[in-house]
C-alpha cells in the first residue's frame, strides 16, 4: 500500500510577517515516527508543506494528516479533496484530540492522543478489514519503538535536521498548555 503523510503549513506561515526560517527549523518527527510502523513492502512519503510543494494529483491508498489549530482549515480541505477521490484519510494531532467531532467530519479515521500504540493497531485492523472510525490512545510507552524513519525527511531543507525527541509530555499541568488535553486518560509524561 501507498501511504502519504502530510504536515499542512500553518496559516501564519503565509502572513506578511512570515519569517520562512522559523518554519524551516524542525522536520515533522511525529509523522516519521508513525511511518516506522508500516510493514516492509508498504510505500511511504512525507510531505511538509512548509518546505515542500504539496501535490494533490497523486493516488496514495492512505493519507495521514497532522492537524494543528492554525492549519486545521487547510488540513480539512486537503482531507476533503482526497476523500472525494476515494482515498482513505486519517487525521490526528493536537487539534484533532482537542476537537474530535470537528475533525471527524473530514476523516475516515481519527486518532486522539499519542499514536505509537493506536497507529499499529489501526494498521492491523486495516489489513483485517475491520477499520474503526476512532482510535483513542490506550497504553502508552515509547520504549522499544521502531527507529524513526529519518530517511523520509529531506535533511537539506531544514536548519535543524538533527531534531530529536526522547520523551513524551511533561510532568507539569499549566492551564494554557495542550498537554493535559492531549494525554487525557493516561500517562502524560514518559521517556524512552
Amino acid at each position: 500500500m501507498k501511504f502519504k503523510f502530510i504536515l499542512p503549513s500553518l496559516l501564519e506561515a503565509e502572513s506578511p510577517l512570515w519569517r520562512p526560517i522559523k518554519y524551516s527549523l524542525f522536520p515533522p518527527l511525529g509523522l516519521a515516527t508513525l511511518a516506522a510502523y508500516l510493514p516492509d513492502g508498504d510505500e511511504a512519503v512525507i510531505v511538509d508543506q512548509h518546505v515542500q510543494k504539496l501535490d494533490l494529483d497523486d493516488d496514495p491508498d492512505v493519507v495521514a494528516i497532522q492537524v494543528y489549530i492554525t492549519n486545521a482549515k487547510r488540513a480539512y480541505a486537503i482531507a476533503d479533496q482526497y476523500r472525494q477521490r476515494g482515498v482513505k484519510v486519517l487525521l490526528g494531532g493536537l487539534h484533532v484530540t482537542a476537537l474530535p467531532e470537528e475533525a471527524a467530519k473530514h476523516a475516515d479515521v481519527i486518532f486522539t492522543g499519542p499514536a505509537e500504540e493506536s497507529f499499529p493497531r489501526f494498521l492491523e485492523d486495516l489489513r483485517q478489514g475491520r477499520m474503526q472510525r476512532v482510535y483513542a490512545s490506550q497504553t502508552r510507552s515509547i520504549q522499544k519503538i521502531p527507529p524513526i524513519r529519518r530517511e523520509l525527511i529531506q535533511r537539506r531543507l531544514y536548519l535543524v535536521p538533527n531534531s530529536i525527541v526522547v520523551s513524551r509530555g511533561c510532568p507539569h499541568h499549566c492551564e494554557f498548555c495542550y498537554k493535559d488535553a492531549f494525554f487525557k486518560n493516561g500517562r502524560s509524561f514518559y521517556t524512552q
Binding site: 526560517i21 482537542a98 527507529p147 536548519l159 538533527n162 531534531s163 507539569h172 495542550y178 488535553a181 509524561f189
Partner: protein, 291 residues
C-alpha cells in the same frame, strides 16, 4: 535509554536539538542521558523549567554533555499570573538566579513569555523586555495568551464569556482572541508587537550581549541574536537554494563552548578542548552555497 543514545549516535554532524517538552523532567533519565552523551562531542539545545535548572546538579551534567542553549518558559514576571495558570514550577523561584546559573555554565537562554494573562496591564511589555535585556537573555519568544480549545484556560474564558472568536485561524498567539482583563485588545496587540521590536533593536542586542562576563560569551550572544533576527535575506536565500542544511555548520560554531580554560578568552575563534570551531574551509563552503 539505549534506544535514545543509539538514535543520537546515528545522527550526522555535531548539533542536536531536543524537542522534548521538558528535557530535565525525569531526573534519572536525564542524568543517564547526559552521562551517555558525555563522550559523544555533541553540542545541543533543549527546553526545561525554571525549577529544574535550580535543582541539584542536573544542569551541570547537561552542560558537560554539550548543552549550549536552552528554552525556558518564564511566561510571566507576575506571581499572580503564574498561580492563575497553575505554572507552579515557576513560583517562588528566583529568575535572576536561573539566568546566572545558566550563564556561568555558558548556556544561552531563549526565554519564552506570554502577554495578556489577567495580572497583566499595559505596563507589562516594557517591564518584561527591559528585564530580559538586562539579564542578557539571548533570544526572546513572545506570545499573546491564547486559550486553545481543550485547555482549562479555554474553559475559563468560555465560561466568562470572554472569547472573541472561534475562527481557529486567528489562534496563532499573534492575535488577541479573548477579552483581556486589565488592558484593551489593541493595547495587548500593539504591546506585543512593540515588545518584539524593542527586544531585537540593535541597541538592545548590544546591551544584552554586554551582560555576559567574557568577551567570548558576549560575541556569541551577539552573533546568535542578530543572526536569528537581523539576517532574514540570508536565511531566505539559503531556503530558496534548498541548502539550509549548510547553515547548520554556522549554528554549530556559534554554539561552541564559552566556558573553561581558554588560552585566549578574548578571541571568538579560539580552539579549546577539542571543540572545533568552523574552519576557513567550512566558511568558504557555506559562502559558496549561499552566494
Amino acid at each position: 535509554m539505549d534506544d535514545a543514545l543509539a538514535e543520537i549516535d546515528r545522527l550526522p554532524g555535531r548539533h542536536l536539538y531536543f524537542l522534548d517538552d521538558h528535557l530535565l523532567g525525569h531526573k534519572r533519565f536525564a542524568s543517564d542521558l547526559f552521562n551517555g552523551m558525555k563522550a559523544m562531542g555533541r553540542v545541543f539545545q533543549g527546553a526545561a523549567t525554571v525549577d529544574s535548572i535550580l535543582d541539584g546538579d542536573l544542569i551541570e551534567k547537561a552542560a558537560d554533555a554539550g548543552l549550549r542553549s536552552i528554552f525556558v518558559g518564564f511566561e510571566s514576571l507576575d506571581t499572580a499570573n503564574l498561580k492563575q495558570s497553575n505554572k507552579n514550577q515557576n513560583l517562588g523561584r528566583d529568575y535572576n538566579r536561573v539566568i546566572e546559573r545558566l550563564h556561568d555554565l555558558g548556556i544561552m537562554i531563549n526565554g519564552s513569555f506570554v502577554f495578556g494573562l489577567d495580572g497583566d496591564d499595559a505596563s507589562v511589555f516594557s517591564r518584561t523586555v527591559d528585564w530580559a535585556v538586562e539579564q542578557g537573555i539571548t533570544t526572546s519568544t513572545y506570545h499573546i495568551a491564547t486559550p486553545y480549545p481543550g485547555t482549562l484556560f479555554y474553559e475559563k474564558m468560555k465560561k466568562g464569556g470572554r472569547l472573541l472568536t472561534d475562527d481557529w485561524d486567528r489562534y496563532d498567539t499573534r492575535q488577541v482572541v479573548f477579552e483581556p482583563q486589565c488592558m484593551s485588545i489593541d493595547e495587548l496587540k500593539n504591546g506585543y508587537d512593540q515588545a518584539y521590536r524593542d527586544f531585537y533593536s540593535w541597541r538592545n542586542v548590544f546591551h544584552g550581549s554586554l551582560a555576559h562576563g567574557t568577551r567570548k560569551h558576549q560575541l556569541k550572544h551577539f552573533f546568535y541574536t542578530s543572526g536569528w533576527k537581523k539576517f532574514e535575506p540570508l536565511w531566505n536565500l539559503a531556503i530558496q537554494m534548498r541548502q539550509l542544511n549548510g547553515m547548520t555548520h554556522l549554528l554549530e560554531s556559534v554554539l561552541s563552548k564559552v566556558t573553561g580554560n581558554f588560552k585566549n578568552a578574548a578571541a571568538f575563534n579560539t580552539h579549546t578542548e577539542g571543540t572545533p570551531e568552523m574552519s576557513p574551509d567550512q566558511l568558504s563552503d557555506i559562502n559558496s552555497q549561499i552566494t
